[in-house]
Amino acid sequence: MNDALLAVRGLRMSIDIPGSRERRDVLLGVDLEIAAGEALALIGESGSGKSLTARSILRLLPEGARMEGDILFRGTSVPGMDRRQLRSYRSSDVSMVFQDPRAHLDPTRTIGDFLVETLRACREMPRREAYSKAVELLDDVRITNPGRRMSQYPHELSGGTLQRVMIASALAPEPALLLADEPTTALDVTVQAEVVRILTELRTERNLAMLFITHDVDLAEVACDRAAVMYAGRIVEKQVASLLPSSAGHPYTIGLMNSRPELGRRAERLQPLAGRPLSAYEAPAGCAFADRCALVIGKCRQDPPPPLRRLPSTVAACHRAEDARALLTPATAAAPAPPASPPGTSATAALIEVRNVSRVFQARGSFRRAPIVAVDDVSFTVEQGDSLAIVGESGSGKTSMARMLVGLERPTSGTISIDGQRRHGRRLGTLDRAESARKIQIVFQDPYASLDPRQTVGAAITEALRLSGATDKSGLPGRTRDLMHLVGLNADLADRYPRRLSGGQRQRVAIARALAPEPEVLVLDEPVASLDVSIQAQILNVLAQLRRELAVTYVFITHDLSVVRQVADTVLVMHHGKIAERGLVTQVLENPQTDYTRTLLASVPSRMPTAAGAETAGLASPMVTDVAARG
């Protein structure tokens, strides 16, 4: 197979651990091929080695890394290139786009400076020519008014526009291969849809090959032709992207897809993968996925890891791949329908009442800058036992709303009442801190920052319990254990510090802590947004179970409509600080009334048109055959 544009053969990598003589394996043998013009998705969770694979293609190795195996670009070995060859390879053959465009742009220089410099560096053209070429490139990535953008600075542009600028600069040398490392993860869904569409169009126009790194199986399906799934430093499955839902054969791939909540329906219970994703160095002997696999048999643990092998419907590294599909069917039981009464009509008094609330941020240090209106005259109520989702993109005001609900910020105008008591204000009848703690609690997005790094898990939960005053001193250890059990944490974790917990475990601790005062309302600010897909499902299940057991009212802040379907009964769509639409989840998701909601729904990856389209030549795909041939 020499007609592949890029071939990665037996790539292994290990890294020195700073300050010790230990080395850690990060890649355990990766084989990939990308043909000219083809888009390959590299799917994996954190620690799988997907980004390192992409970086090693550019020979951008982390400090202390040792690499084995070969990477062939048009038949030339990348590890064997000398300095000059490597420079020309990096500057003209392969380009890379990263997750955070802002981190890769110099904030003191204009977009024009940046692009002209890039063009002149890789194509040695006069300034004037480079300038017009840059404008052309901006136009190619569908940036409106490119001439004006040239003189703007990164801070004046949105994340989506900046990512398009990065794509334009990646295209400047007219590369044959684009490496895109989670290019849309930091972007809003509507912007993500736009960027994916642009990438797809550009690829067809320019016959550009792409390695698209993502954690999102749905996105891989729409953006790519083929997909490779990575787990613990190895490729575990290769499949035609559009066939992933129907023909994936590795239990991990199937598990990833089953653990995603669906936009179309609410599952009784999501089917999360057990445990957490492993990195290569933690992988046990045998199949690295064995401990999380429902189909594990003795052979999986005893034999060396199974190699990729060709099956009638897929290429997978699994002893049980033949049966996996049949045995791992997604949950079929749909959840009971949520209450049919539209929000705000029941006779009971509202638990939370938000009336004409606005939040204005005064830009400091500038006289000319207009104040930012984060929340603009918003009113809504939440009833006892309700689960309300506030959904919106960045800048919609959803997080400001959450912070005002729990009292971390004050509304500029308007009132918030909780259980009949005013949230803010000096008059009698205003919630004091202790009362507030027993009424409403919050779980934040980032589980790494929401626990005190110097407090053990047990101490953190006990502290919250003691404050609530609900338990006397002798009952504290018991209650702490109960709470840990409630959120699915093993009691031996009580002595651990947060840094020794996984993201999912930390988020469980944060939930347990928030539940300690037995609050009536739990505000959840994007509680699963920074977790791996397989962990998201675990946390969503815990939240669903808690709601059933404790009858706690949820206000769920999220950008993810599939999550809304899974956790909420009613939904409030926010856009630019205002309520765009509200109603029962079923109604809003199935029959949206506003254009904005419709756009939002159409941008969900599972609803986007696929890139490959009819290109389901199935397993006649060159790579699949090749891999099978080499075993």
Binding site: P18, R59, G64, M67, G407, R433, R438, S450, D452, Q455
Partner: protein, 284 residues
């Protein structure tokens, strides 16, 4: 980046062992100075203040291993005794500066708004004076002496410590674990004591070790100017100053040895402190 075998790329880091060796050497020097200070009465061959005018400017002899000063006092003994104020002074001054600086910085970060602006401007005001000048001012106002010089140098160090801690405290203050504690109803004082302070502690410690070096130099300078430790007590700063007059007479020993001691201790503390700070940072 080097290519060893075909298809194998190695990118190894530089050997790190030397930085550790240097740090340990610095640590050993500090330990040595501490031992010298603590056991000075046992180690010193003579009473550091015993005059022997017959031996003035004596060259190193069996009796006076490092020679004697203008009044015939044994230099080695004076250097050993001089280690006491050289360590005790900066320690107390740094502790004072750290306590004041932390209180000011944490208050500024916690209350924010007007309080933060007022405190920050006051710190700016202190910054405007060179620390030595400020120290001289205090010493001149309240009279010379060991205690005043510590107070003076300590206060002069406050803005340097407070500025760094304030930044870190503001950063921690905005993190969800602090905000979560607020929502939990934990009183502000308890949040500061139990959550904020433990998490700014590494920064505080780093800043302390950095300040130590500056404070040693400042205290020595104050002594040199005659506003610190008073004669006849042995002190490196005063020794540099006393030895000054004999420099021109061709007897540089006293100033030379005392300066060398100051330099060695400052370098040792800086190197060791940097290393400890880097390790604490890495462990976070």
């Amino acid at each position: 980046m080097s290519t060893s075998a075909a298809g194998t790329v190695d990118r190894r880091r530089l050997p790190r062992d030397w930085s550790r060796a240097v740090a340990w050497t610095a640590g050993a020097v500090i330990l040595l100075v501490v031992v010298a200070a603590v056991f000075a009465p046992l180690l010193a061959p003579h009473n550091p203040n015993a005059l022997n005018l017959n031996e003035a400017f004596s060259a190193p002899t069996a009796r006076y291993p490092l020679g004697a000063d203008a009044s015939g006092r044994d230099l080695l003994s004076r250097l050993l005794y001089g280690a006491r104020p050289a360590l005790l002074g900066p320690t107390l001054a740094v502790l004072l500066a750290t306590m004041l600086g932390t209180v000011v910085a944490v208050a500024s970060a916690w209350f924010g708004g007007l309080a933060d602006r007022v405190i920050s401007r006051l710190l700016d005001l202190l910054f405007a004076f060179p620390p030595l000048l400020l120290a001289l001012l205090v010493a001149a106002t309240f009279g010379a002496g060991f205690t005043t010089s510590i107070l003076a140098v300590g206060i002069a160090e406050v803005p340097y410590i407070a500025r760094v801690i304030r930044t870190e405290a503001i950063r921690q203050r905005k993190r969800p674990y602090i905000e979560g504690s607020l929502v939990q109803g934990l009183p502000g004082v308890a949040i500061i004591w139990r959550h904020l302070l433990p998490n700014v502690a590494p920064t505080v410690f780093t800043q302390m070790t950095l300040s130590f070096g500056y404070v040693i130099v400042n205290l020595a300078a104050v002594s040199f100017l005659g506003l610190g430790v008073q004669a006849p007590t042995a002190d490196w700063g005063s020794m540099v100053s006393e030895g000054q007059s004999s420099l021109v007479q061709g007897y540089p020993q006293e100033s030379l040895y005392a300066s060398a001691c100051i330099i060695v201790v400052v370098v040792a503390f800086t190197v060791f402190g940097d290393w400890v700070a880097a390790r604490m940072e890495a462990r976070r």
